[in-house]
Structures are given as structure tokens and as C-alpha cells.
């Protein structure tokens, strides 16, 4: 706790909160620096929890960056396993890394996943002058010659952006994943510039990082990887409508320590559900390009287990893990 308090002191702003309310205030750990998706999750959900009077003190957000969430995960598992006042922001990246054993031996069953209350839809885009008109064109081209298309994305090889096109290809019966070319850049915007520049043929990422470029016409979206068209982008066809049974959403949600009681877990699930149902959250989702994606409680844990198994298999197929 000393470390956390010290950190907040450095931040300058949370001074009063730290000194005044450590005993009972809920803490939300964002396992990344300020400004990223996890930070967003903590700040927005934390604010709504307090605004909706679900917690009695403002939620304190702690940024604990490192190892793509691994530092925070280890911290929660080893030091905070029974802390019922702790919530941690999570997303698809969390489960992807857990599935790939990238958290130094930590496994997905060492925490409890409370729920996801929104999702950043996966999108596949090409440059505006690309010969590919549909997702089918792109998939056929890769099937004919896997070396003819390079994907760019904002995550390292094996990361969630890399897995997106592979899941599409898998649904089309193409499984020679190691042949599919992918380059990982520092964030979606950089990946888009590479695609607009013609250095890669397609780019995969989340809707929130691509939306501006789609609106400006620099890139053309071939498909969104959601069940239904994304509000505000109804003219982009879903992968499903083009015959690819695949749904890839970068969900935004929370996990809590393993060691808390079932009652405490259920209480968090109810609070999260209340946030998801609020009008304020719907507005926040609309403002930030998130699509509805709500799975809370025990259902969510079951879904996560399935996702981890699938991701592990896919990662083995592309050789990221043995």
C-alpha cells in the first residue's frame, strides 16, 4: 500500500483521496498508463459506480503499467488475493496473454472475471484504392497465395490484432496460419499509416482507433467482426453477413481477486450490471465507439474459459507458444 500511496502522491491529484480514504475506498487498477483502454475502463466505470451510488466513496484509480498487464496481474494474485475492495480493468488482451502464458506462469483461474459491459468491435480495413472490395476477396487472395497479403496491427505478433484475421480465415477453412503475414506496430494509428502508404495490404484493429480514418475516407472497412452492424457505422457489413461465422470483440470489463467470497463476487457482478444498464454508460459507449457487449457473472467466467482454450489452440497453430 505504501507504494500505491506514494504513486498517488506523485500524481499530485489523488493526495486527499489516498490519505483520507484508504480504508474502505474501492480501488480500480488500470494495468497500463493513463490514456489507454484499461485506464478508460477504470475511470469511466469507477466514476459511474460512484455517481450511481453503488459505492460510497469515489473510486481510486491506480495505474500499474508493465508487461501488458502482467505486473498488475501478479500483484493481484500474490499480494491482494483477498481484497474485496479491489477491481481490475481487463480486456481481450488480458485473456490473450493469459492463454499464451505471457504472465510468467500465471493462469486465468487465479482471478475471477466479473463481466464485460462493452466491446470495441474488431474491424478489417484496406486502403481506399485497394483492389479488395469485400472480405471474401481478401480471404480468397490469401487462400490462393498467403504471401500476397500482409496485415498490419497495433499489437505484437500473437497479440489480439494478429489473431483477428486468423479467426476470420479459420472460419473460412484456411488453417495454415503460420503462412499469414502480420507486422505489429506501436498502436493502431501507426498500423493505419502503413496501410494507407501501401506497405501492407490490410490492417486489423479496434473500431475506436480506426473510426476517424474511416470517416475521412483514407481507409475502407471490409468488415466489422460483430454479430450486428455497429451503431454509427451501419454501412459497414458484418463478417457474418458476408458468410464468415466469426465474432471478435475487444471486450471491456473487470476482474477481481480469486480469494473473495461468492457473496462479494456476486455483489460486484450486480454493481457492474447496474452500470451496464445505466443511461450514462450507454452514452459513454456511444461517445467512444463501443458496441453493446454485456456478459456478467458466472456466464462470463464460463465464456472466458472457452475463449482461453480457443486462444491457446490458435496460438499453438501460429507458433507463438509450443
Amino acid at each position: 500500500m505504501t507504494k500505491l500511496s506514494f504513486r498517488a502522491l506523485m500524481g499530485g491529484a489523488a493526495l486527499a483521496v489516498t490519505l483520507g480514504g484508504n480504508a474502505f475506498a474501492t480501488e480500480c487498477i488500470a494495468p497500463a498508463d493513463a490514456g489507454g483502454g484499461w485506464d478508460f475502463t477504470c475511470r469511466q466505470i469507477g466514476k459511474l459506480l460512484y455517481d450511481l451510488k453503488l459505492v460510497d466513496q469515489p473510486v481510486q484509480v491506480t495505474n500499474m503499467a508493465g508487461a501488458g498487464g502482467g505486473v498488475a496481474y501478479t500483484h493481484v494474485v500474490t499480494d491482494r488475493n483477498e481484497d474485496a475492495d479491489l477491481i481490475v480493468a481487463a480486456s481481450s488482451a488480458t485473456t490473450t496473454r493469459l492463454a499464451q502464458n505471457a504472465y510468467a506462469g500465471m493462469t486465468a483461474d487465479q482471478v475471477r472475471f466479473v463481466g464485460a459491459i462493452g466491446g470495441d468491435p474488431g474491424v478489417i480495413v484496406v486502403a481506399k484504392d485497394s483492389p479488395f472490395q469485400t472480405l471474401g476477396d481478401l480471404v480468397e487472395a490469401i487462400k490462393a497465395d498467403p504471401t500476397s497479403v500482409t496485415f498490419a496491427g497495433g499489437s505484437a505478433a500473437g497479440g489480439f490484432d494478429h489473431l483477428k484475421p486468423l479467426m476470420v480465415l479459420k472460419s473460412a477453412g484456411f488453417t495454415d496460419f503460420a503462412k499469414v503475414k502480420y507486422i505489429g506496430l506501436d498502436g493502431g494509428a501507426e498500423a493505419i499509416t502503413q496501410t494507407i502508404g501501401g506497405f501492407t495490404q490490410a490492417m486489423t484493429g479496434d473500431m475506436s482507433e480506426i473510426a476517424g480514418f474511416i470517416k475521412s475516407g483514407d481507409v475502407r472497412a471490409l468488415a466489422v467482426l460483430t454479430a450486428d452492424p455497429v451503431p454509427g457505422f451501419e454501412d459497414i457489413p458484418t463478417a457474418k453477413s458476408q458468410g464468415f461465422d466469426v465474432e471478435v470483440v475487444n471486450w471491456r470489463g473487470l476482474y477481481v481477486p480469486r480469494g473473495i467470497s461468492d457473496d462479494e463476487f456476486n455483489a460486484w457482478a450486480e454493481k457492474l450490471q447496474a452500470v451496464a444498464d445505466s443511461a450514462e454508460w450507454k452514452q459513454i459507449m456511444a461517445d467512444n465507439g463501443l458496441a453493446p457487449f454485456t456478459k456478467v457473472g458466472a456466464d462470463f467466467q464460463g465464456w472466458i474459459d472457452g475463449v482461453v482454450i480457443d486462444t491457446t489452440q490458435l496460438s499453438k497453430d501460429i507458433g507463438v507458444i509450443q
Binding site: 506523485m10 491529484a13 490514456g35 505486473v71 503475414k181 502503413q194
Partner: protein, 575 residues
């Protein structure tokens, strides 16, 4: 004329008494943060983000405050580079090379004024560039693919040997050390961790800010402890600061060239201010050639990197605003801030939220004017901060370094790593190995490798792909002489490439007789006959010059006493 009306709108937004007040406060804080070793623009901006929120500032006000701090740190970094030989922030690293020697010669005031004016020229012209060709220039990012970036970083790397004050082989060793450190962390191209030893904290690699603070600030503290505070670097006196008009006039061209190079480096995503100042310095050094006095207190060696890094700071705004791609570490933090303010930088920002963009640009102009005033006529105010007695300053440097790194990474592990780098820096300097190439190795190594491997993925391992565009061919052509030329030029020029001193300070320049060319070649390869003959391995093997002048005579290993003559002059006489 649309630009002018937009700019007028921007000033309308930014020119209220309260925002002006914020600009002055931001510039002041920024200059101090920049001047304090260990705190740089990234943590300056990062620390102030929560402050901006808790003060309840609106978007424009928050941006004014933070851009003032950002530009302020870029100005302030040079102060401790010049006075203490510790870069106040990472882009000011190159300024130590000539700034500190100038200060030792009693020209600290001149160096501060020249670098202050250079900072202004760089930043001001870059801001104009941002206004006029910003959105257009953003398209440059589309022309740079992996092959082009690789060639760019290679070009930077090729010129790296010239940074070394004397011994190329040791510079190469230092650069390799940096490259090795850059390999630590997750490999972007396979998703595998490398050299992390299973330690999660090393998964993201070694932050070069940790390395720079360790190698410079912490190592300096070790030297201070060793010398019991005597004979310390902090002995530089600053007399009356007058404006050296002649020097300013003589460095006008340098400033403009530095600005141009820095601006382009800033515009390219991923290059950033550190590369900008480095390229500006190296380009100026080769432009001036053997006539220069670089590394020994040449005013141009202060003007070029300062114009370069401030121009890069302005240039880096372009990809951040128009593409949402941060051009440097600091703009990455600012990008995060914009997102939190619900402003999404990207191709639509200029069209959708013009008052934000133009308000920001106007505040950049305001910040620059305020900073020029603070950093030239009022510079003594900031110098006072660094002119406290060493026994106060050194603990302060230590504290600020720890706090600065912790506030940025939030990891105690990085603090240990920083101290580790401090120890490394101490030994490297004992061995007379320059530390600047280590930093550049870390900085460039990651980018170079990632881009090479991306190029290989795209081209299916086809090497000629690296030379397949006009831009990459141009960069290769520029890079090759940088690597080959020193080998040939060394035997042609009287003064070795880059004007490295062959003689001790204050010594008459001697003609090198033919017999000594052979010796010089050995020297270049890292062999110092005298040192070898003495068999004292851990002994500085070269003449006291540039940054190490002050360490020579103080920090000797082995049996040497302080009064042993420096080896190089003896050798010159012997041959």
C-alpha cells in the same frame, strides 16, 4: 488567408488573462522541470495531467498549460547540460558535448544565451511549419515504410561513431552495449520474451529514460561521492550574462540547418526530439568539417542540437494531431491527455474541432515568446536553482531522479535498474567509454530491429526490398559515407574526423609526423600503446578532453597519482 483567420481565432481562444497566466506558470515549471536532471518532458507532462484535472481546467486551458510545460522542458533541459554536464532531459544529451566545455572555459553565459536563442528559433519556425505545411507534411508518414525507417535509423547509427570524443572503438563498444540492452524485452515480431530471465518487469524492455538518468545523473552522484565533493563538476561559475551578438550571428546558419533537420525528425513518427538533436548535431559537425572545434566548446555544437530538439518538439505535434500517431515519448503522453479530454486526434481533428487545434497552435506561439524571455534575459533565475552548493544539489539530483523515474513508470524495479545503470555509467566513465552511444544504441536499436524484421516479413525475406524505394536508396547513399569516410579521412586529415583533439587542452597543436599516422591508426582501433605498455588495464587511455576533461586527473584507477601526466601528450612526444 484562411490560415490567418484560423490563427486569429486560435489567439482569440488562447489569449485571455487566465490562459496567459497558465502559460507563464507552465513555462516556468517546464523550464525548472527540464533543468532538473531526472525530470524530462515526458514526466513533466505526465505529472501535470492530474493537476490539470484537479484544477478543473477546460480543454483549451489544459492544453495551454501542458504545451507550455512541454516546450518549457525542451528549453530547460540545456541548462544542466551546460552547467553540470548532466542532460536535464533526454534530448539535451547532445548539448553536453559542447555546452559543458564552453562552461569550463568560462563561457557558460554565452552557451546559455546561444542555446536559448537556438531553442527559440527551432521551436518558433517549427510552429510556423506546423501551421503552414502541417497537414500536408503529415502525408510524409505515408511514404515511410519499414524499409525506409530502417535506412533512416541506419543513417543515424552510421554517424554515431563521430559522437565519440576520441576513441572510435570505445564508442562502437558503447553502441553495441546499447544495442544489446535494446534486445531485452518482448520481441515484437514473434511475441516472445528475450533476455528477461522470466522477470515480468523486463517484458516491456528497458526504458531509455531509466538508462539515461542512471548513466548520467546517478553516475555523476557516484563521482561526487568518490571525490568527497571536491573538484566537482558543479564548480562552474556564471558571471554576468551578456548577449554574444557575434556568436549569435555566426550560428544563424547552424540554427536554421538544425531547425530543418529537427523538424523533419519530429514529423516522422517514432523518431522524436532525441533523434532530432542528434542528427542536427552530427549534420552540423560534418557540414563544418575539420574547421570546427566540436566537442571542445564550439558554439555551433550548442546551437545545432538545441535548434534541432526544439524544432522536433514542434514537428512531433504534426503526426500527433493529424494522424493520432505520437512522434515522441512526450507527444504520446499528450495524446493520452487529448483522449481523456474527449478530443480524438486524427485526420478529422482540424475539420471537426478547429478551435482546439488553433488554440493549441496559438498557445505554442505564446509559450515560445514567454520562454524566450525567461530563458535569455531571466536565465540566471533558473541557473540559481542549479547553483546551490553541491552538497545540496547532489542529494537533490538523487531525489529528483528517483521521484521522476518512479512517477513515470510506477515501478520500484525501474529504480533498481536506474541505480544499476548508474553503476554501469560510473565504470564506463572510469574506462573512458562514452555513454552517449549507449543511450543512442538503446533508442535506435529497438526501432532498427523492428523495422528490419517488418521489412523482411513484408518482402518474404527478400533483402533487395531494403533498397527498393527512392527514399530508402537516398538514405542508404547518405549513410554509407558516414560509415566508410572516417576510415579513409582519418589518414588524410590533419585533425581526425570531427575535430577530435589529438592533444591536451591548452597544448599547442602539433604537426603529426608521418610516423605517427600508424600510431593514430592503432589508437583509432582502441589500442593505446602506452597504456598497454604500462599494463594498467583500468586506466583512462586517452587525453583529457571534452566531457572527460574534468574526470582526468581526479578519477584514476590503478597506481596512478593525480599528477601523472595524461598519457596522450606523452605519446605524441614519443613518436
Amino acid at each position: 488567408m484562411e490560415i490567418l483567420s484560423n490563427l486569429a481565432m486560435g489567439f482569440g481562444v488562447a489569449l485571455t488573462p487566465f490562459t496567459l497566466f497558465l502559460a507563464v506558470v507552465g513555462c516556468f515549471l517546464g523550464t525548472i522541470i527540464g533543468a532538473l536532471p531526472g525530470l524530462g518532458p515526458s514526466n513533466g507532462v505526465a505529472i501535470l495531467i492530474p493537476l490539470a484535472f484537479s484544477l478543473g481546467l477546460d480543454a483549451t486551458q489544459a492544453l495551454v498549460l501542458l504545451t507550455s510545460v512541454y516546450y518549457g522542458t525542451m528549453y530547460g533541459g540545456r541548462i544542466s547540460s551546460i552547467l553540470l554536464n548532466i542532460p536535464g532531459d533526454e534530448p539535451a544529451m547532445m548539448t553536453t558535448l559542447d555546452g559543458y566545455p564552453m562552461a569550463k572555459q568560462g563561457r557558460a553565459g554565452d552557451a546559455l544565451v546561444i542555446s536559448g536563442v537556438a531553442s527559440f528559433v527551432g521551436a518558433f519556425i517549427a510552429t510556423i511549419g506546423l501551421v503552414i505545411i502541417g497537414p500536408l507534411l503529415a502525408r510524409i508518414a505515408y511514404k515511410f515504410g519499414p524499409a525506409e525507417y530502417f535506412a533512416l535509423y541506419l543513417l543515424a547509427f552510421m554517424t554515431l561513431g563521430g559522437v565519440a570524443s576520441k576513441n572510435q572503438a570505445k564508442a562502437a563498444f558503447a553502441a553495441c552495449l546499447g544495442l544489446g540492452i535494446a534486445m531485452i524485452g518482448m520481441d515484437n515480431s514473434t511475441g516472445m520474451p528475450r533476455f528477461t530471465g522470466g522477470n515480468l518487469h523486463l517484458m516491456d524492455g528497458v526504458d531509455f529514460l531509466v538508462a539515461i538518468v542512471g548513466l548520467f545523473a546517478i553516475a555523476e552522484v557516484f563521482f561526487f561521492i568518490e571525490s568527497h565533493g571536491k573538484n566537482s563538476a558543479i564548480g562552474v561559475k556564471l558571471g554576468k550574462v551578456t548577449i554574444p551578438w557575434a556568436d549569435l550571428k555566426a550560428t544563424t546558419g547552424t540554427m536554421l540547418r538544425g531547425t530543418g533537420i529537427g523538424f523533419v525528425a519530429g514529423v516522422l513518427p517514432g523518431a522524436g526530439a532525441s533523434l532530432g538533436s542528434f542528427m542536427a548535431y552530427m549534420a552540423e559537425k560534418s557540414f563544418i568539417g575539420s574547421k570546427g572545434n566540436f566537442g571542445k566548446g564550439d558554439p555551433r555544437g550548442v546551437a545545432a542540437p538545441e535548434a534541432g530538439n526544439n524544432a522536433a518538439a514542434g514537428g512531433a505535434m504534426i503526426p500527433m494531431l493529424t494522424l493520432g500517431v505520437p512522434g515522441s515519448g512526450t507527444t504520446a503522453v499528450m495524446l493520452a491527455l487529448l483522449m481523456t479530454l474527449n478530443i480524438t486526434p486524427g485526420p478529422l481533428l482540424f475539420a471537426e474541432q478547429p478551435e482546439i487545434v488553433w488554440g493549441l497552435i496559438a498557445s505554442l506561439f505564446i509559450a515560445n515568446i514567454v520562454l524566450l524571455v525567461m530563458n535569455v534575459p531571466l536565465v540566471k533565475l533558473f541557473v540559481k536553482v542549479l547553483m546551490v552548493p553541491p552538497w545540496v544539489l547532489m542529494p537533490l539530483v538523487t531525489m529528483v531522479s528517483f521521484v521522476g523515474i518512479y512517477s513515470l513508470t510506477g515501478s520500484y524495479f525501474d529504480l533498481l535498474l536506474m541505480v544499476g545503470f548508474g553503476v554501469l555509467g560510473y565504470f564506463l566513465r572510469k574506462l573512458d567509454v562514452p555513454t552517449v552511444p549507449v543511450i543512442l544504441g538503446i533508442l535506435l536499436g529497438i526501432q532498427m530491429e523492428d523495422n528490419l524484421r517488418r521489412a523482411m516479413v513484408i518482402s518474404d525475406g527478400d533483402w533487395p526490398f531494403l533498397f527498393s524505394s527512392p527514399i530508402s536508396i537516398g538514405l542508404w547513399i547518405a549513410a554509407i559515407p558516414g560509415f566508410v569516410a572516417p576510415i579513409f579521412l582519418r589518414s588524410v586529415l590533419k585533425t581526425p574526423v570531427g575535430g577530435r583533439p589529438v592533444h591536451g587542452p591548452g597544448e599547442e597543436r602539433r604537426q603529426c609526423r608521418p610516423a605517427c599516422w600508424c600510431h593514430r591508426a592503432f589508437w583509432a582501433l582502441g589500442f593505446d600503446r602506452n597504456a598497454l605498455a604500462r599494463g594498467v588495464a583500468l586506466r583512462p587511455t586517452s587525453s583529457p578532453s571534452t566531457a572527460d576533461r574534468r574526470t582526468a586527473g581526479r578519477f584514476r584507477w590503478g597506481r596512478g597519482s593525480r599528477n601523472i601526466p595524461a598519457p596522450r601528450p606523452a605519446r605524441n612526444g614519443a613518436t
